[in-house]
C-alpha cells in the first residue's frame, strides 16, 4: 500500500502515482475540496456524487513529478458497501472529511475509520479534515480541541479549512501535500532527497494548467 504505482509507458519517463481516497458523509464538501485542490477554485455548482468521481493533479516534490489521483466517493451510505470497495484497491492514503457545522458528520468518523480499517488502510497516511470553517459562528462550530482529541486518538493530523474561501487555498493545498510528502518519504529505494537543493521542507508546487492538460489524459471528476 505504501508503494506507489509507476506508470509503465515505454519511452516515457515513468511517473509516480499516489492514490488518495476521500471519505466522509454526504454534503461535507468532499467534491468541493478535491475540486479546490485540482482546479484551484471553488466549485459553486457542486452536484451530488453518484458512485465515485475521479480528479487528478500533477505536483512536484523536489525534482520529481508526481501524479496525485483523488478518488472522490459518494457519501450516501448505500453506495459504500460493495460499490466503492473496488476503488479501495491500491489506495495509498486516506482523507476523512467532516463538516464543522454538523456534529453528526463528525460522529460518523468512527464508522468511516472502521471502513478504513476493514480495507487494511490503518497504516496508510491518513488525515482528518473539518470543512466549512467559514460557516456559522465560533460557538456553533465544532470545537477544535474536541476534534483534535479524536484526531490524536486515531493518530492522524487534523486540518480545519474551507473549500469556499480563496484565502484557505493554501491550507487545502497543504492537506494533500502533506499526504504526498508522507507517501514520498515512505517510498523505498529513493535516492534523491528533497533536502538537496532547496533545503528541507521546501516544496515546489505546480498547478497543472487546464490548457496544457489536453494531451495529459484528463483532470476530471
Amino acid at each position: 500500500m505504501s508503494e506507489a504505482t509507476t506508470h509503465q509507458i515505454p519511452g516515457l519517463k515513468q511517473k509516480k502515482v499516489f492514490k488518495i481516497i476521500v471519505l466522509g458523509d454526504s454534503g461535507v464538501g468532499k467534491t468541493c475540496l478535491t475540486y479546490r485542490f485540482c482546479e484551484g477554485q471553488f466549485l459553486d455548482k457542486s452536484e451530488a456524487t453518484i458512485g465515485v468521481d475521479f480528479r487528478e493533479r500533477n505536483i512536484k516534490i523536489g525534482h520529481e513529478d508526481i501524479k496525485l489521483q483523488l478518488w472522490d466517493t459518494a457519501g450516501q451510505e448505500r453506495f459504500r458497501k460493495s460499490m466503492v470497495q473496488h476503488y479501495y484497491r491500491n489506495v495509498h492514503a486516506v482523507v476523512i472529511v467532516y463538516d464543522v457545522t454538523k456534529p453528526e458528520t463528525f460522529h460518523s468518523i468512527a464508522s468511516w475509520m472502521q471502513e478504513v480499517e476493514s480495507h487494511g488502510l490503518m497504516r496508510a497516511p491518513r488525515v482528518l479534515v473539518g470543512n466549512k470553517c467559514d460557516c456559522g459562528t465560533p460557538e456553533s462550530r465544532l470545537a477544535t480541541t474536541y476534534a483534535q482529541r479524536l484526531a490524536d486518538k486515531y493518530g492522524m493530523p487534523l486540518f480545519e479549512t474551507s473549500a469556499l474561501l480563496d484565502s484557505e487555498c493554501d491550507n487545502v493545498e497543504s492537506i494533500f501535500m502533506t499526504l504526498a510528502h508522507k507517501l514520498y518519504s515512505k517510498q523505498p529505494l529513493r535516492v534523491v532527497s528533497v533536502e538537496g537543493e532547496l533545503g528541507p521542507g521546501v516544496v515546489t508546487l505546480g498547478r497543472q494548467k487546464r490548457s496544457a492538460s489536453s494531451n495529459d489524459s484528463c483532470l476530471c471528476s
Partner: protein, 429 residues
C-alpha cells in the same frame, strides 16, 4: 443570453464537477424563448428544449402525425405512442412529451392530484438528504431561469420525491433519483410527474425499483450485463476493459439517472427518456454498452489503467449520436437477450468474487507481515536493555520494561522514524 435576476450565470464559466471535457455548447441549453416566465404551474412554458430539427423532412412529417394523433388521443393505442417515442427524434418537443409521457406509462386522469405542502413532509427521515441533493441540482435547470422560479421548482422537486418514498416506505431514496425526478418534473409538471415517478419506482417491472432496495447489490448485478454485451459485439474491446479492471462504476450514474446526471444537453436527456419510458427495464444498460462500443477507439488510445479509463469513459462527449446509439442498443438487445447473458454475468461475478477474496487475503498477509516485523523490532529493542535491567530494582525494571513496550508501540505507529529518518523533511504528519 438575456438573464434577469438570475443566479445561473455566475457559475457558467466554471466547468461543472471538475469536468475535463471542453465546455459544453451552452447554446443548446439556452432558453429559446425570450418571454419572461412567471407561471411555474405550466412547465411547458419552460421551453428550454432546443427547437426541433425542422430541416429534417422525416421529423417534419412525424410532427404532423403527432399533432393529428394528439387531437384524438383516445383513438391511439399504446403501441402507436411507443412507436413515436422510439423512432427517430422521439417525441420531438416537450409540448408533446408533456401529454404523451403519462400515456406511455399508463397514468390516468384520476391520479393527477394536488401535491401536499413541503412543511407536511419535512419530518421524513430522508428529508435532509433529499434537500441536500435538490439544492445541488442547479445544473439541471435552464440557465437564466429566474431565481424565484428555480426555488419554487426545487421545492416541487423535494415534494415529488418525498411523496413517492412516503407512499412506498420500503423504497429507499438514492442520490441520483432526484435527477430522474427533475426530468419528469420539468417536462410534465408537478401533478403528472408524481404518478409517473410512482410507476417507474414501484412494481415488478418498474425500472427504478432495483435501485431503491436496501443495498446497491441488485443495481450492481444489473450493470454487470454491460461487459458481456460489449464482449459479444467486440471481444477485443471487452478484454481491454477487463484487463484494466475498470469495472462498471463509470456507468453507474448513467444507469441510476437514465443519463440525466451525466449529459450536458437537455435535449439528449429527454430524447433518451422518450425511449426508456417504453423500453424493457434493462435497456439503459444496453445503451451503456452501445456507447462504450461507439467509443472503442478512444478506449484503445487510452492508457490501459483503471483510473485513466474510468476518467475517460465517465465523461460523456457532447456530440454522441444518440439516434444511432439507440438503434445499436436495440439491435444488441434483440441479439443478446438478458436471459441468454445470465451465464456470462454469473461467470463475471464469480471472477469478481475471487478477486475480492484474493485482495482480502493479500491484505491479511500484509497486516500479519507488518505485525511480525514490528514484534521482531520490539524484541530487538528488548535485547538492548536486559543487561541494564538486571542490575535495577524490580520496580524500576518494570518501569523500564513498560517504557520499552511504549517505545515499541510508538515505533509501530511511526515506523518512518526508524526507517526513513533521513527523509523526514516534509511537513510533519
Amino acid at each position: 443570453m438575456e438573464s434577469n435576476n438570475t443566479d445561473a450565470d455566475i457559475g457558467d464559466k466554471c466547468n461543472l464537477n471538475g469536468d475535463c471535457s471542453p465546455t459544453p455548447n451552452k447554446q443548446s441549453f439556452d432558453l429559446n424563448n425570450a418571454k419572461n416566465i412567471d407561471d411555474i404551474s405550466t412547465p411547458s412554458e419552460l421551453k428550454f428544449d432546443e427547437e426541433p430539427d425542422y430541416e429534417d423532412p422525416d421529423v417534419k412529417e412525424k410532427k404532423k402525425d403527432l399533432e393529428k394523433c394528439l387531437e384524438n388521443p383516445d383513438c391511439i393505442n399504446l403501441e402507436q405512442w411507443q412507436n413515436f417515442a422510439k423512432s427517430k427524434a422521439g417525441l420531438i418537443s416537450d409540448d408533446y412529451r408533456r401529454k404523451i409521457w403519462p400515456l406511455l406509462v399508463g397514468v390516468t386522469q384520476e391520479e393527477l392530484t394536488e401535491p401536499p405542502s413541503l412543511d407536511e413532509l419535512s419530518t421524513h427521515i430522508e428529508y435532509n438528504q433529499v434537500v441536500l441533493d435538490v439544492n445541488r441540482s442547479l445544473k439541471r435547470f435552464p440557465p437564466g431561469i429566474p431565481y424565484e422560479q428555480r426555488v419554487a421548482l426545487q421545492d416541487q422537486l423535494t415534494v415529488l420525491i418525498l411523496r413517492v418514498i412516503m407512499k412506498y416506505p420500503h423504497l429507499k431514496y438514492y442520490q441520483g433519483y432526484h435527477d430522474v425526478a427533475i426530468t419528469l418534473l420539468l417536462v410534465c409538471g408537478d401533478r403528472a410527474s408524481f404518478p409517473l415517478l410512482c410507476r417507474l419506482s414501484y412494481g415488478p417491472c418498474a425500472p427504478l425499483a432495483p435501485f431503491m432496495q436496501t443495498t446497491m447489490q441488485p443495481t450492481q448485478h444489473l450493470l454487470n450485463y454491460m461487459l458481456p454485451v460489449v464482449s459479444r459485439a467486440d471481444r477485443k474491446l471487452a478484454e481491454c476493459l477487463d484487463k484494466a479492471q475498470v469495472g462498471t462504476m463509470f456507468a453507474l450514474p448513467w444507469y441510476l439517472t437514465w443519463f440525466g446526471h451525466s449529459l450536458n444537453k437537455y435535449t439528449d436527456v429527454v430524447r433518451l427518456y422518450d425511449y426508456f419510458l417504453c423500453a424493457p427495464p434493462l435497456f439503459p444498460v444496453y445503451v451503456t454498452a452501445a456507447i462504450v462500443l461507439y467509443r472503442a477507439d478512444e478506449v484503445y488510445a487510452c492508457e490501459c489503467d483503471m483510473a485513466m479509463l474510468h476518467c475517460l469513459l465517465s465523461r460523456l462527449p457532447d456530440d454522441l449520436p444518440f439516434e444511432d446509439i439507440l438503434v445499436t442498443a436495440k439491435t444488441l438487445y434483440e441479439n443478446n437477450d438478458p436471459t441468454d447473458l445470465e451465464p456470462e454475468v454469473a461467470a463475471l461475478e464469480r471472477r469478481e468474487e475471487e478477486q475480492r477474496r484474493l485482495d482480502e487475503e493479500r491484505m491479511k498477509r500484509r497486516q500479519a507481515a507488518a505485525r511480525s516485523r514490528h514484534t521482531s523490532l520490539s524484541a530487538r529493542l528488548r535485547r538492548l536493555v536486559p543487561a541494564a535491567l538486571r542490575r535495577l530494582p524490580v520496580s524500576r525494571r518494570g518501569a523500564l520494561a513498560a517504557a520499552t513496550v511504549l517505545l515499541a508501540v510508538y515505533v509501530y505507529y511511526r515506523p518512518d522514524l526508524l526507517y526513513n529518518r533521513r527523509r523526514e523533511n516534509a511537513l510533519e504528519l
